[in-house]
């Protein structure tokens, strides 16, 4: 009896809050994507060379949890096979959020472009209920004129509160690196 009540409570929590959160998130994604539209984020590895630019590695990360209702439905889909639709929207939201955070990181640096954008997805296994982590990263190009007043290691402007990711600028050309907030691993990127 208690088990049944608990189940219903969890399901309705997932249903109500999960759906509300998803709708709200999608709305905010659309709005912010429009706002950041002026900054091109490109997957190409060949940057523009019309003028001198500084390079900064910019990152944006997000961890999104599935709700009880989504996980339950996904479990049922697993029996029959087919598209796991509850997770499609979850992943879509995660990727767009990660890209937006990366872009906002680049905008803080007053970048003109972000090149060689890459995305990584991984499952953060916490029991049966899933959570996913999406990381977006790329190289931001900051034009020479803006470079003088671009913030460097000033964390107040480059730090993205939600992800804790931070960009460090390097004056040397062709090399950029990032540290994550734990400072455990360092990613080297010299694609540009």
């Amino acid at each position: 009896m208690i088990e049944g009540v608990l189940f219903l409570v969890l399901m309705s929590c997932g249903l109500i809050f999960g759906q509300i959160a998803e709708k709200r998130h999608l709305k905010s994604l659309v709005k912010r994507e429009l706002e950041s539209n002026s900054l091109p984020a490109i997957a190409s590895r060949y940057p523009v060379d019309d003028q001198p630019y500084q390079q900064h590695l910019v990152t944006g990360g997000v961890v999104i949890a599935s709700d009880y209702f989504k996980s339950f439905t996904a479990g049922l889909i697993n029996i029959f096979g087919g598209r796991v639709t509850p997770f499609e929207s979850l992943l879509d939201r995660g990727r767009r959020e990660a890209l937006l955070r990366m872009k906002s990181n680049a905008q803080d640096l007053k970048a003109d472009y972000v090149f060689n954008v890459k995305l990584e997805t991984s499952r953060i296994a916490t029991g049966r209920a899933g959570a996913i982590e999406v990381l977006a990263y790329g190289t931001a190009l900051v034009s020479g004129n803006d470079a003088n007043n671009a913030p460097t290691i000033d964390s107040s402007s480059t730090n993205i509160a939600a992800s804790g990711d931070r960009a460090i600028s390097h004056r040397s050309v062709g090399n950029a690196s990032a540290i994550n907030n734990g400072g455990i691993d360092t990613t080297e990127s010299s694609e540009t």
Binding site: P40, A43, N78, I79, G81, V84, T85, T121
Partner: protein, 107 residues
């Protein structure tokens, strides 16, 4: 629609970059397949059910990528990358993304 993981096409030039396009697909196989995979794990060898699953997912993800590119008026997607991740037990996610571009013949 031209899809390539190259960046420079020998006989085309990129006229315009239109940004990032992506396609993703999360799919799972029915329990019968999971059951066979469970046994196959004892003897080793190819898990055909799952190979098929990932193949289907990849096709669907690619189709979605192409649709996004078409919708924004691109005629090619360059520098395409695939990534696979396990989102839930028995379900695989294929993600593909690339640069949507407008290309023209090189003069």
């Amino acid at each position: 629609m031209l899809i390539s993981n190259l960046e420079i096409l020998p006989d085309h030039k990129v006229v315009r970059h239109l940004g990032l396009v992506q396609g993703s697909s999360v799919r799972s196989k029915h329990v019968g397949r999971d059951f066979m995979a469970f046994f196959k794990n004892i003897f080793g060898g190819e898990l055909r059910g799952y190979t098929e699953l990932l193949h289907e997912s990849r096709e669907e993800a690619t189709l979605r990528l192409v649709e996004q590119a078409e919708q924004i008026g691109a005629n090619a997607v360059l520098n395409v990358r695939y990534s696979t991740s396990s989102i839930a037990a028995g379900a695989a996610e294929i993600f593909v993304y690339g640069s949507a571009v407008e290309i023209a013949d090189r003069d």
